[in-house]
Amino acid sequence: MQGDSIIKNEKTSGYMLGDKTENIKKRTDFIEASGELQEGALEEIEEGYVEVDLKGNTVACNSSFCKITGYPKEELLGLNYREYMTEAMAKRVFAAYNKVFRTGVPNKAFHYEIIRKDGETRIIENSISLLKDHEGHRIGFRSVVRDITERIRTEEELEKHRRSLQAIFRSVKDAIITVNDRMVVIEANEATNSICGIPPENITGRIFTECSFRCDKICHEVLKNSLEKKVDINEYKIKCRHRDRPEQKVVVTSSPLLAEDGNWMGTVLLIRDITRLSNLERELSERHQFRNIIGKSKKMQDIYALLEDLANLDTTVLITGETGTGKSLVAKALHYGGTRAFKPVVTVNCSALPESLLESELFGHVRGAFTGAIKDSQGRFYAANGGTIILDEIGDISPTIQLKLLRVLQEREFERLGESLPIKIDVRVIATTNRDLKEKMRRGEFREDFYYRLKVMEVRLPPLRERREDIPLLVNHFCGVFNRKFKKNIEGVSEEVLSAFMNYDWPGNVRELEHSIEHAFILCHGPVIGIDHIPLEIKEYSFSKKSSQRRKTIQGAEEILTVLEKTDWNKAKTARLLGIDRSTLYRKIRKYGISRPPQEM
């Protein structure tokens, strides 16, 4: 342009045309444009922006600041900061601004409370810096302000929640152990000490499976299982086998710790001690059955307890009791309840075979050992190796076989007939008998040494008449058995039948009861077994017992009537003569329906 010269602008390092007026105008235009741009940008931001002079009066601000304070711009401009806070707060703000003024160092993230125009208190975060003019003089302050009320409240809530959870975590009686995905313990509560016997500080930060717990560490397996397969494990009951508390039982639950994106980042293990509960449940539940042995009477409960103790041992057991009391059942229960359950169980009826055959049956023979021994035989003891041999009716065996059996019990070896090579065996011996072995011993029919070798533990089964309260249970059981066998739908027995069963003596015990019900099932074509369906001897026994009771009743009434007539119906005298008190006499009079005949006028 004519008359223009290019002048370097020292401040901006740019160039401008030499015409000063033009340049000034352009510069002014530029500055104005920049200012408008800057103002536009400030209006767009969410943060509040405010400039105050050295007295704290608002010189400029953006719309966001107006929104934060609740004041319109025209009211804010010229308004002192003290107008929208408490006096105490104003002092704090003054101190903060003063420090910035003196040091020149901006104060970032200074928090304080303001009171909006509508009276609501808000918490704001203020970043304060000095405003200087072009000569570097301090002319005021510039602040970038955020309303952080919600954030602070959320943080406080979270902190409150965290403290509350911590309190629960500390005080809950279940052990809670949190591990990350590498099985490192993040946190454990105090109950870990009482249940697991290890203080939480001893495991926090360590790999769970490497911590020295004094138990079988079954929880470790549960945790590993849960982490590896990414599954919950709920209410898993285990026996800890803790060294200090060997009976401790716990319930373990393993739940995932999930990240926001749903990724598995660890596990929470909860361990609850249920030892006491489990023991109470056990005590409270009256055992009605142990394997196939039925009975809830005290005598049977005692036997169940004994069988549980004996099941897992290899001790020789002698089972005694009348015929039909369930000796074989008990012997089988002992076998199947122990670690030999999946090994052979062999039963030998010692009374069914003559002595010569019994010996061969028990111990085996080699070919040619006796006439008829055309091939080798291993024998029952060999067949039972690793398992159990049940010697039924042990009281009927000869002294010779008693001696051989004694050797088996003592030496755990035997020889086959016709062979001198001893064979070692591992067999548990259970013997049964309905004989009185002590009596046989006294008569010299049973060896004393063998008796005491057999009778390491004795299980004595009571006759059915000594546990009559089990009869209804047994009746129910057999009805179920025969309903399935005969494909019938008999509901049970009548009251009359039950009464007959309860009164009967049962010389054949449970076996006799079983056969009686089977008999009734064949005859009964209705839903209920009646008195005509049961065996005659039980019916007759019941009838004769009732008759005898009825006769006693009749005698009682006749006697009272005779004495009453003698005393002219004087109750006191009658009672004295009968040797009973008056209330008993009145009761019997009512019971037998005794009444004075009407007197003639």
């Binding site: 079954i218 919950d232 898993y236 394997r291 999946f342």
Partner: protein, 124 residues
């Protein structure tokens, strides 16, 4: 409380009771997959039986469901190194193919059975 055990024993088509006498025949020699529940008769027993029945009925003839007799639970646990109850064990061809620990929902058990059966089909 329902006597689930009594109900099951009366219904031959339902879950089969298994003990040492019939374990070999009913589980090891069984040609179908077998789902076996090892559990104590406690307060949670009925719930787990119902779960098992639900899943069993979904698979009907393709899956055999067995429940260990109460008195054989401890022996079985020792044999198969089972540390707690309830534990569901899947057998195919007489061998254990997987187990689930703790109380579970029907869906979880169903998915477990499907996984084991699918794995078996793939191996074949």
């Amino acid at each position: 409380m329902r006597d689930m055990e009594g109900i099951l024993r009366k219904d031959p088509a339902s879950i089969l009771f298994v003990g040492p006498q019939n374990f070999e025949k009913e589980v090891i020699q069984e040609s179908r997959p077998v789902l076996l529940l090892c559990t104590q008769r406690d307060s949670d027993f009925n719930k787990q039986i119902e779960v098992m029945e639900t899943v069993h009925s979904a698979f009907s003839e393709k899956l055999k469901a067995c429940l260990l007799e109460q008195d054989f639970v401890e022996v079985f646990m020792e044999m198969y190194d089972i540390k707690g109850t309830p534990t569901f064990v899947m057998f195919t061809g007489g061998r254990e193919k997987g187990r689930l620990l703790g109380q579970i929902a029907p869906e979880t058990l169903r998915n477990f059975v499907l996984r084991v059966l699918s794995a078996e089909q793939r191996d074949e």
